[in-house]
């Protein structure tokens, strides 16, 4: 898992641009957006969350969590179905930063991949319920339906070899025959 930190390949500027693009496309008609393009997250929180999510699903030959729009997904749900988790995210992201600064003296986003992994591993141990929630939400945003702002362009489905399904069904049958009993 050492190469998990290649998520650093995407610069923060690119990342924010991606986030805004995806978010805008999906949130059209949902009202104005906050400054960083987020509906709930502050930019600093998004930076922290991106580092965590990209350790949960790092980049390899296929996109990382943030590249696939996982932050869009979480941000959107935090003002929708996951509204009750807003406080947990605020506190949990703050704790993650505190852990990073305590152990490495830097913000988590400024760390190398191995150190980021160490911080997230600490988080899993010390703030288990928050970590589990972020882990679940990250997997949902990555592997779930694109309609909620994650899994951009069905990237994860393509990674798994799942294309859009062809219309099968009728091609399976010879409808000229009587049903066999």
């Amino acid at each position: 898992m050492d190469d998990g930190g290649r998520s650093q390949d995407v610069t923060r500027r690119q990342f924010v641009a991606l986030g805004t693009l995806g978010g805008a496309a999906l949130a059209a008609g949902c009202g104005s957006k906050a400054s960083g393009g987020w509906e709930f997250l502050r930019d600093a929180q998004a930076t922290t969350l991106k580092a965590i999510c990209d350790q949960i699903i790092p980049k390899d030959d296929y996109p990382s969590a943030s590249e696939a729009g996982v932050l869009n997904y979480i941000d959107r749900q935090l003002v929708r179905h996951y509204r009750p988790h807003q406080g947990a995210y605020r506190d949990g992201l703050e704790q993650a930063e505190a852990q990073s600064r305590e152990r490495f003296g830097k913000a988590i986003a400024e760390l190398g991949a191995a150190d980021q992994l160490a911080v997230v591993t600490d988080m899993e141990r010390d703030h288990h319920s928050f970590f589990e929630m972020v882990r679940d939400h990250t997997l949902e945003g990555y592997y779930g339906s694109p309609r909620h702002g994650g899994n951009r362009d069905e990237l994860s489905w393509k990674m798994l070899g799942l294309g859009d399904p062809p219309l099968l069904g009728r091609a399976q049958y010879d409808l000229t025959k009587e049903p066999q009993q």
Binding site: Q55, R135, Y173
Partner: protein, 550 residues
């Protein structure tokens, strides 16, 4: 509002059939449903919000907001939950009920399932009983359900199926890849595999086309309307008679009774939240095992201080569902062919007759898995996150088969629905409180079933297997919920008689899975349907016109 002959509460598997049978027989019927009427256009293919994967809520009701329940853990602590959480034991709230978005397995029970106590004896501490009716009583109505609702499949591969007079009306879907892998393995083990009976069109039937075999099946409404439920079969027939009015988004509050203790109708909150009364000659409760019990318990009066049918504290007891047990196998070869519904092959060899076990269960391959459904099901030792998890998803997503099945429930009187003393729903009606668990022998049967599933997968070439396990802290009623208004001859140990009529109120009937004395080792929906046809038949025969008198 005009008085009608019958009010049916709940437009699901049972209520839809009752409404149709009564309306066709000429009775005036009001069918009340707390949910909405969805159509094929509501499929949405939303992996995170459907009736099986509910991370973002239930697609087909109820809403999380305004519909709480309470469950009680093993230490006695109560927890309030919303409808999309597992401990809620949700089925659905919509026209069609569970049959709108189900996987559509449409099994008949076996004759032994109606004679569990006399076949095996009741395990100590259980409330295992025989039904007051037999398989033979239900056979004509199973047949009617298979032909009116529409079932495809083929029982001919197994000698264990119950006696039947004719084959299913539709052939099975052509086998998928998992069928091709599992069938020869089952035969090598001496098992008798069959094509799962499914309420799904494999060929044009009933004016609708066949399954197009997409991957968004169980949990979703069918995009091409090839999956059969009460919403696209019997309910339209009921409405077409002109004798049945369907009112959606109506939450029934209580059954109203007169000074003689007979029902005179129901009160309900309509789609705009206004309290209404609908008077009727008879009331049929078909709201599913949890909600039917709740309605009876909430129908309190001077004559029924503890609720209708509850003179002997039986309403809500014997709650059961199905403990699902089985194994997941990982393969070197690709097993995934993107052909829904995925579930295709089953064996009934293990339902009955194992020494030391009180019943058993059917085993079948699982429905097609969406990627999000596999993230927590990678082989043992796989990291739960990080690069290792992502790599495992790539390696195994298309290389796994799950074999599982519903384990026969050994009921317990302590597993029950009561009313929570504190929590109320959006209308102020006391809500369902779930406590207790099924008898522990259930989990012993489940453990054996898991070993059997594993053996089948290994024979089929699995390179690694994971057995399901664990014992839930509270009864898992869920979509297979049953048992809370048990059918029986003795009013002291049951709620309804052999025709589904409440023992102490002659014009109130419970017609849904609540009456199941035992939930069988099969998906229960076809049995709910058969009982609905059977009970409706008795009801219509007893109907004297203008008023119901026994």
């Amino acid at each position: 509002m005009n008085r009608v002959n019958a009010v049916v509460v709940g437009a699901g598997a049972g209520g839809g059939i009752v409404a149709k049978e009564l309306a066709v027989a000429g009775l005036s019927v009001v069918l009340l449903e707390r949910g909405k009427w969805y159509t094929a256009a509501d499929c949405r293919k939303d992996d995170l919000r459907n009736q099986r994967n509910t991370q973002l809520g239930n697609a087909f009701g109820p809403e999380d907001k305004g519909n709480p329940r309470v469950w009680v853990d093993a230490k006695g602590a109560a927890h309030t939950v919303v409808a999309s959480e597992g401990a809620y034991s949700n089925n659905a709230a919509c026209v069609g009920g569970g049959t709108l978005s189900w996987g559509a397995q449409a099994w008949r029970f076996m004759p032994q399932d109606f004679k569990m106590r006399s076949t095996y004896g009741a395990p100590s501490g259980s409330s295992l009983e025989d039904w007051p009716i037999s398989y033979d009583d239900l056979e004509p109505f199973y047949d009617k359900a298979e032909y009116e609702i529409g079932v495809s499949g083929d029982y001919s591969g197994t000698p264990f199926h119950a006696p039947r007079k004719r084959p299913l009306p539709m052939p099975p879907l052509p086998p998928n890849r998992e069928f091709g892998i599992l069938e020869p393995a089952a035969k090598r083990l001496g098992l008798h595999p069959l094509h799962i009976p499914m309420a799904r069109n494999s060929v044009p039937y009933n004016g609708r086309g066949p399954c197009m075999r997409c991957r968004w099946c169980v949990g979703f409404v069918c995009e091409v309307d090839a999956k059969n439920g009460s919403q696209n079969t019997v309910i339209p027939v009921a409405l077409n008679t002109g004798n049945c009015e369907l009112r959606t988004e109506c939450q029934v509050k209580e059954i109203l009774t007169d000074e003689h203790g007979r029902a005179r109708g129901v009160s309900y909150f309509d789609e705009r939240g206004r309290l209404q009364e609908q008077l009727s000659d008879l009331v049929v409760v078909s709201a599913c095992a949890t909600e039917s019990a709740r309605l009876l318990l909430n129908s309190r009066s001077k004559l029924y201080p503890d609720g209708i049918g509850n003179r002997y504290d039986q309403v809500g007891r014997n709650l059961q569902g199905h403990y699902y047990s089985g194994a997941l196998g990982f393969f070197d070869q690709e097993t995934y062919d993107d052909l829904g519904p995925g579930a295709s092959i089953a064996v009934m060899d293990y339902n009955h007759g194992t020494p030391g076990l009180v019943g058993g269960g059917m085993l079948a391959n699982e429905f097609i898995r969406l990627p999000i459904q596999m993230v927590d099901r990678m082989p043992q030792g796989t990291p739960r996150w990080g690069l290792g998890h992502k790599q495992a998803m790539r390696r195994f997503y298309k290389r796994n088969i799950a074999v599982m099945g519903p384990t026969q429930q050994i009921p317990s009187a302590d597993a029950r629905v009561t009313l929570d003393p504190n929590i109320r729903d959006q209308y102020g009606i006391p809500v369902v409180r779930i406590s207790g668990n099924v008898h522990p022998h259930t989990f012993e049967i489940g453990a054996k079933q898991a070993q059997r599933a594993e053996a089948w997968l290994k024979e089929a070439g699995a390179i690694a297997t994971e057995l399901s396990g664990g014992r839930p802290e509270v009864v898992q009623a869920g979509q297979h919920q049953a048992g809370t208004c048990r059918m029986g001859n003795d009013p002291r140990s049951s709620v309804v008689d052999r025709t589904c009529r409440v023992h102490d109120v002659d014009n109130v009937f419970v017609i849904d899975s609540s009456v199941h004395v035992n939930n069988g080792g099969f998906n229960p929906a076809l049995t709910i349907m058969a009982i609905a046809y059977y009970a409706s038949d008795a009801l219509v025969k007893g109907w004297k016109g203008g008023g119901y008198r026994s």
